[in-house]
Each structure stands twice: as structure tokens, then as C-alpha cells.
């Protein structure tokens, strides 16, 4: 599929050879793809729609944040959790096969100011890992989950100069004990901005803390999608400006605009 020549390429469909698919933790796959066009322009916080591998499956594409992009090598990496039928099918894809991707989609994070705090809950790590890797002075990454087994992102892939990483679990099985909110409250003083992705309840707590501290926050949201490009209005979330599309108006929204079930 080619874009109409007369339109500026904002997003496009690309047939992407799978370079590698490995299990990083049971039920979690890291899939590396050859996707030069998307890798060249994707920004942290943007996502791709992955179409189903089998020509026999009549299924909706699935949205995944970009985990890493190497524009020079034309490589794109996704990190995915097997949750249902779609992710199970994708997890079975092996190197040598190809996946059709549509991207880059949506609006990513703004550039983090100095002393930013990145707050990731569970798989919320994906867009924040990309953000941390793309920024000069990424600040601090708070990486939380219920328990150690859910901190699936390989630590060496997070480590980078200038980034201080704080791991935490609700049950204390790894890193500090406490929730994202606990950890954030202790560090919000003097933060440049907060960038967060994770479960709704976590975001609601983060929002409250940032509002109190007067620190600007940005959230990356998730919603079930169909088209992924803004046409079908399927991925609406409630905002102060009415229903907005996660896929086109987001997935990154200013925290103060997002209405969570607070």
C-alpha cells in the first residue's frame, strides 16, 4: 500500500519483517521489526497499529506504543503483554515472518524539561522507556508494579547516562516498597514536569499529587481501538473538552484535561 503521492506522509502502512521475537518474562514478548519509514519519524509516546499475522484471521489491528526506535538501522521494537487472542497470535510470530504496521500514530510526549519525573506502572513503561532514551536530560524514572514479576522491562535496556531509575513494588518484592503515588509524593518537590503511563487508578493518584504540587503532568492513555487513525470515534475518552480520540488527539494528553473516574 502506498500513500497518495500528493499527501504528506504523516502515517503509513508498512510491511515489516520480524527480526527477533523473544520472551522477556513469561507472557511478555519483545518484538523487533524492520520498519524504516516508521522508525525514521516516530516520536516517544506515539504508537503503531499492528495488523494480524494470519490472512485467515479477521481481526482488528492492535495498538502498541513504540518501545524503541533506531532510525539509522530502520528498526522498531515493541514490548507486548499477552492478554487475549490478538496478542497471543502476535506472540507466535517468528523471525523471518512479516507484520503489517500502520504508524507512527497519534501525538507523543512533549520534550521533557530538566528535572522531569517519568512514572511508569506495569506496561506503562513502554512509552516512557522510549521517552527516557530520546531525551538529553531525562531526570528520574519511577518504575512500579504490584509485584517483582510484573517489572518485565529488562533493566539494561532502561539504564542510560543521566537517568536515575527507582524501582518499586506494592509488595516490596523488588526495589522500594510502595505505590507509584507513594514514591511520587516524596519526589514531586521541584520537579520540572511529570510524564506518566499506567493503570487508571495510578494516573488518578498521580494527577492529584501533581495538581497539589503545581507540577505540569502528561499522561499517555489507552482505550480499545478500531481504525487507530481518528476516523471511527471508537477510542473516545472523556476530557474537559468533551470526548476526544485517544488515537488522534492523544494518546498523550495534559493531565488536567483528562477526566478519570476519580
Amino acid at each position: 500500500m502506498l500513500l497518495n503521492e500528493n499527501t504528506r506522509a504523516k502515517y503509513q502502512a508498512e510491511i515489516c519483517p520480524v527480526l527477533d521475537n523473544r520472551v522477556v518474562s513469561p507472557g511478555y514478548h519483545r518484538i523487533q521489526l524492520q520498519a524504516p519509514a516508521i522508525a525514521r519519524t516516530v516520536e516517544p509516546g506515539q504508537f503503531v497499529q499492528v495488523f494480524m499475522p494470519s490472512r485467515h484471521s479477521q481481526m482488528l489491528p492492535r495498538p502498541f506504543s513504540v518501545y524503541r526506535a533506531d532510525p539509522a538501522a530502520g528498526e522498531l521494537t515493541l514490548l507486548l503483554e499477552v492478554k487475549g487472542r490478538g496478542t497471543a497470535l502476535l506472540a507466535e510470530v517468528s523471525a523471518g515472518a512479516a507484520l503489517k504496521l500502520l504508524g507512527p500514530l497519534g501525538r507523543g510526549f512533549p520534550s521533557p524539561p530538566p528535572h522531569s519525573l517519568l512514572v511508569a506502572g506495569g506496561m506503562g513503561i513502554v512509552p516512557l522507556a522510549f521517552l527516557a532514551a530520546s531525551t538529553g536530560a531525562p531526570g528520574t524514572l519511577i518504575y512500579c508494579a504490584r509485584t517483582a514479576g510484573l517489572l518485565v522491562c529488562p533493566r539494561p535496556e532502561l539504564d542510560r547516562p543521566g537517568l536515575s531509575i527507582i524501582e518499586a513494588t506494592d509488595d516490596g518484592s523488588r526495589g522500594e516498597q510502595g505505590t507509584a503515588a507513594d514514591l511520587l509524593s516524596r519526589r514531586i518537590e521541584g520537579a520540572g514536569a511529570v510524564f506518566a503511563c499506567g493503570p487508571r487508578l495510578m494516573l488518578a493518584a498521580v494527577k492529584k499529587i501533581c495538581r497539589r504540587a503545581g507540577v505540569k503532568a502528561w499522561f499517555s492513555l489507552e482505550e480499545r481501538m478500531a481504525c487507530g487513525i481518528g476516523a471511527c470515534l471508537g477510542c473516545a475518552v472523556a476530557t474537559t473538552g468533551g470526548y476526544r480520540r485517544v488515537c488522534r488527539d492523544g494518546p498523550v494528553f495534559p493531565a488536567e484535561e483528562v477526566i478519570l473516574d476519580e
Binding site: M1, L2, L3, E223, L233
Partner: protein, 309 residues
């Protein structure tokens, strides 16, 4: 005929709308077309049916609004739309002259609202036809959809017919005991064509949370799952009315499109299939041409109703 140069003709006339090819984008999934323009060669579409327009903007339903089902999906968008005025000012100008014929899907909660949109679209440049979505709740009749009763159907079609000279398709809901009775009422009231089917009512439950999966509880089922239901209704209606039928419901291949045409449809629309593969219109177009060549037919029209004989 010369195998090499022979190029079958896919053009059809749908209710007074001259289509280059019989493949339309169904109302809803395609929005107002802007987004798909970056992805689809509009030459592959005979027409675009834009998402339903009401007199005033509608906010739509609370999320989640969509979910996948076996070979299908549920949606409960709630007919979110910018309203007539904004559509004319912002959406229509971008679509005008983009290639495919333009059909505007019209919604309302009363006869007056339907008529108001039809009047407002009358004379607007670049509109080739209207599609009346009568599966909306009829607020004056206790919320039962207009399209579930032949009499209500007749009244709403007549009201719109009086306000528009444009080709008028009436889009039927499949959630009825007799689709034929509704289609005949629409024809008698002056419709130029019948579109069917809209989505089947459905729901799913999230057993983890012990609550309905969609924010709106109920939604509409579309996609390949419903194709056999759609095809039967097209077959029945095409045999019962004289005006042409636009068939839709679960089409994801040229073979599917051919089944609708052989059942008696003049043209077909694609909704959910576009999500599975935005390349679908191109694939269907190619597939139709191949089939016609293989069968040594010069016009797609020769296949209309071919399975009914």
C-alpha cells in the same frame, strides 16, 4: 474478445448516483474521510457515505465504545457528530471533488430533525445523495427506532422526500421481524434505494469486572460474523422492491461483494472490513475485474441477482 485489452465495466447507477465502481465506504467507520485520505487511494472507492449528521452536534456515548467479538465487533459510538453546520463548514469542503461520489448519512430523533438536516444539505455543492439512517431512537414514540415499524418508516421517509431532490437511500435496521415490510414502506414513501444492513443489536460482559463491556451496555454488531444475516435480508428485499439495493454487512473480500451482488444488490459498502485492511477497496476492485474476465462478462451489472434465477 481480446483477453489482453478487455476491461470489464464496474460502473453502476445506484438510485440515481452514478458510481465508477460499486464499492462504497459505509457510514461511520470512515468518519468524514479525512483520515483515510492518507491511506487509501480514493479512486478505488465508487462512493463515500459519511458518518451520520444531525441538526446539532451529538456528544456520543461513554467509553468503552468498541470491542472485538468473534469475526466481528461491537460499537456504541452513539452517533457522535459535529452537527449540520460544522459539517457544511469544515468537513464537506475537504471532501468535495475528492473523487468518489459523496452520500451524506442523516440522523435525527424526530421527523423534524430528519427534515431539517435534509433541507440544510439541499443545494450544498458536492453532495450526490442522502442516506437516511432510520435506526435512531424515535424520541416521540418512546425511543423505539423509526426503522422498526413500517408506518414510522413511511412518515420519516415522506418528511425527508418533501425536502430533498437528491437521490435518497433509506438505511434499514436488521433488528426487525420483517425487513421486507419496512423496505416496502420506504419504497412507497419515495425512497430511491434501500441500504442494508445496519448493525445487529448485541452486548458482551466483562466477567472480571462483572459488568457490561461497553459503556453504553448495548452496541451494534458488525463484521464478517453478520454477513449471512445481511445477505439474506438483501436477498429478501431485492426480491420485494423495484428500487436498487446497497448491500453491506461483513464484506471483506471480492467473493463476499459478489455474493451480495448475486443476491440482488446494485452496489456494496464496506465498514468493519476497512479496519482489518485499509487495502480492501483496492483488493475488491481487482477481484471483481478478475471474476468478470474469467466469466467473460463485460459489465458488473450482468451479475446483479444472478443467484436468484
Amino acid at each position: 474478445m481480446n483477453e489482453k485489452t478487455f476491461k470489464p465495466d464496474l460502473s453502476v447507477n445506484l438510485a440515481g448516483i452514478a458510481l465508477d465502481n460499486p464499492i462504497l465506504a459505509a457510514s461511520g467507520p470512515f468518519g468524514y474521510g479525512h483520515e483515510y485520505r492518507e491511506l487509501i487511494d480514493f479512486k478505488d472507492l465508487g462512493g463515500i457515505i459519511v458518518k451520520g449528521i444531525s441538526p446539532e452536534p451529538w456528544a456520543g456515548n461513554p467509553p468503552p465504545r468498541v470491542t472485538e467479538t468473534p469475526s466481528g465487533m461491537l460499537n456504541a459510538i452513539g452517533l457522535q457528530n459535529p452537527g449540520l453546520e460544522k459539517f457544511l463548514a469544515e468537513d464537506l469542503p475537504q471532501l468535495r471533488g475528492s473523487g468518489p461520489r459523496l452520500v451524506v448519512n442523516v440522523v435525527g430523533c424526530s421527523l423534524e430533525e430528519y427534515a431539517e438536516v435534509a433541507s440544510g444539505l439541499e443545494g450544498a455543492e458536492g453532495i450526490d445523495g442522502l442516506e437516511l439512517n432510520i435506526s435512531c431512537p424515535n424520541v416521540k414514540a418512546g425511543g423505539m427506532a423509526f426503522g422498526t415499524d413500517p408506518d414510522a418508516t413511511r412518515r420519516v421517509v415522506e418528511a425527508v422526500r418533501r425536502r430533498t431532490g437528491l437521490p435518497l437511500l433509506v438505511k434499514l435496521s436488521p433488528n426487525v421481524t420483517s425487513i421486507v415490510a419496512i423496505a416496502r414502506a420506504a419504497e412507497a414513501a419515495g425512497a430511491d434505494g434501500i441500504s442494508l444492513i445496519n448493525t445487529l443489536g448485541g452486548m458482551l460482559i466483562d466477567t472480571g469486572q462483572k459488568k457490561p463491556l461497553l459503556g453504553n451496555v448495548f452496541g451494534g454488531l458488525s463484521g464478517p460474523a453478520i454477513m449471512p444475516v445481511a445477505l439474506k435480508m438483501v436477498w429478501e428485499v431485492a426480491g420485494a422492491v423495484k428500487i436498487p439495493v446497497l448491500g453491506m454487512g461483513g464484506i471483506t473480500s471480492a467473493d463476499d461483494a459478489l455474493q451480495f451482488i448475486m443476491a440482488g444488490a446494485r452496489a456494496v459498502a464496506i465498514g468493519t472490513g476497512l479496519f482489518y485492511d485499509p487495502d480492501l477497496p483496492a483488493q475488491i476492485k481487482t477481484g471483481l475485474i478478475e471474476y468478470l474476465k474469467q466469466e467473460n462478462l463485460t459489465h458488473l451489472g450482468q451479475l446483479e441477482g444472478a443467484a436468484r434465477l
